[in-house]
Symmetry: C2
Subunit: 351 residues, 2 copies
């Protein structure tokens, strides 16, 4: 199938759904209705009524997340390949956040008829890049016509189970007073990258490129989630809404409160250099970091670090109801409450 005709981009409407499915099957290395062998890890490959994979011994974990053009990414600004990576990565991160291992994805495309075939193939290459990085197989999906582009990924994973049949996963509801609050990686980079994308910043600058990559190609922490379960950590989630808001989710479901010390937030050099005034705010509430947030005892975090996972302790859990208190660089404490905002200032040296 041609991608260009007389130097003009070919539209999806010109090759039809069946033509597009054949191209996309080729991108993921699947034989489509040609009697070829199924891919490794699959028993019945795409082209039948459903895909079939071998039995697994662990608990089953599922998530789904959708990216809509113009809402979750800007097609004029973001390469389609990066949009594809991100569509898969946000789902992989949800599985990582449970301390589970992802393995099979279904991809649904809502496509305007004038979508360029080349763009959709680039999107699929990005999906595939992320699948290859995390051992995920795309087991098919659906393509429908729609006025606005969106991509929905449904992803399944496998979690360890204990001898009683209970899953060994990271929950939001198991934080207890005395736990330390720790995170993987650095925070705020993705939010800074989004600002740069929106402002049309050049990707030539290495610091900008690194921040934009954090936004467009986040790296889910699958191994860090699995290691946490091994280390006996039971409370964790991924940071998607922003550190303070997500820590608020943990506090609400655990019936506890949290304190965070802004001076301890892990900030990248790129973030500090490009956004010196806003670095802490971006790290606290920027969102889309897709790093893991753990609440665990110091012993459990020590075991985790001995497994090779680097974490930064940024605060602690205490008795209370759902509030997250942040001690700023200036020593002022601000309280973020369950209703979803900074509700008042208190204490500190400058109040």
């Amino acid at each position: 199938v041609r991608l260009r005709s007389y130097n003009r981009l070919v539209r999806v409407s010109e090759i039809g759904e069946f033509g597009l499915i054949k191209l996309l099957a080729q991108e993921i290395g699947a034989a489509f209705e040609d009697g070829g062998a199924p891919r490794p890890g699959v028993l019945v490959d795409i082209g039948d009524d459903a895909v079939v994979a071998p039995p697994v011994s662990g608990a089953q974990v599922w998530t789904t997340d959708t990216l809509v053009a113009g809402v979750h990414f800007l097609p004029q600004r973001t390469p389609w390949r990066n949009a594809g990576w991100k569509a898969m990565a946000v789902n992989v991160s949800d599985i990582a956040a449970m301390g589970a291992r992802p393995y099979l994805a279904l991809v649904t495309l809502n496509l305007p008829a004038d979508s360029c075939v080349e763009d959709i193939i680039d999107l699929y290459r990005g999906l595939r890049d992320c699948c290859d990085a995390y051992g995920v197989i795309i087991g098919g999906g659906d393509i429908v016509r729609a006025p606005i582009f969106s991509v929905t990924v449904a992803l399944s994973g496998e979690a360890a189970v204990d001898p009683q049949g209970q899953p060994r996963v990271l929950r939001r509801s198991t934080a207890v007073p005395g736990d330390l609050v720790a995170v993987t990686g650095t925070l705020g980079d993705a939010a800074a990258g989004l600002r740069l994308v929106r402002s049309g910043a050049s990707r030539e600058d290495p610091a900008a490129a690194r921040l934009i990559e954090a936004h467009e190609r986040p790296r889910p922490s699958v191994e860090e989630g699995l290691a946490a379960v091994s280390a006996g950590v039971t409370c964790g989630m991924d940071i998607s809404d922003g550190l303070v808001q997500d820590l608020g989710h943990i506090c609400r479901t655990s019936g506890a409160a949290a304190e965070v010390d802004a001076a301890r937030l892990p900030l990248s050099d790129e973030l500090r250099s490009r956004f010196p005034a806003d670095a802490v705010d971006l790290a606290l509430s920027g969102g889309e970091d897709y790093e893991l947030l753990y609440c665990a005892s110091g012993d459990a975090l020590d075991r985790l670090q001995r497994e090779g996972v680097t974490v930064t302790v940024i605060g602690s859990i205490r008795a209370g109801s759902a509030a997250v208190t942040v001690r700023g660089l200036d020593g002022v404490e601000r309280v973020w409450d369950a209703a979803g905002g900074w509700d008042h200032f208190r204490g500190g040296t400058s109040s």
Copy 2:
């Protein structure tokens, strides 16, 4: 949360995503972030990063299918509750078509901001109706804003495995010359129902109501698929594109040809009475029947009937390449070829 305000319907934009999720969680009986026990069949319920279900011993089967308003159903004509049923049923049918048992679904809603909350709850009631009928649990999903309503269901199921670890499922690729072609139920009713919906026919008339129900609330053949696997049937699929086209899929992937005798097609009294002139054509190519189509030996079909599944033999498989020949009521044979149409007439008494 109110559904009506001063006798006016409340829109989704007025209660927000979080408000809607709480209402929908209530519809499916799930505790949402309130620390309640997970539902039976679920280990970690909605409200965490992903849903977790117990290990299963069988092979894993997955499918996904989307219904778009205005394309796959007409919101002005079809009750939302029926659209919900159908969105789930078409996925259940894909799992049934593999001879597997469905068990966990994820539901993604693409919602215009001015969607009525009441409509979306009705949709969810329809999804729930179908889940209850087939033992499926809704394990969460995603809600995004979009210009046109669509609902995407991703559904997983479980298939039997043989001692060698191979799945015991119904394939499209295993038809062999000498097999009989058989179907469950009656054909053409759903296509007739679609015509009635489009023409705005009254649902008061019992025959019309029965045909419209076949279109809007199809009954997937889960037990008939499982029984077929038990009976040793290996080739089958569900009829969604239409009998002849779907039988063409089997012929293409199996490298065989098929003959169908129109006089043997199972037609309902309602179809015959409302569409006497078109009944056979609707049964041959109307589509969306969601009955099962089997290709199997007479012995295997006998075993299947002894398991209590009523099937109608309508033709047979023979050597050849991908063509489906239909012998009409007039004795004329027409050939439907792999390119997707009736390509010529041949033989018969009136040619």
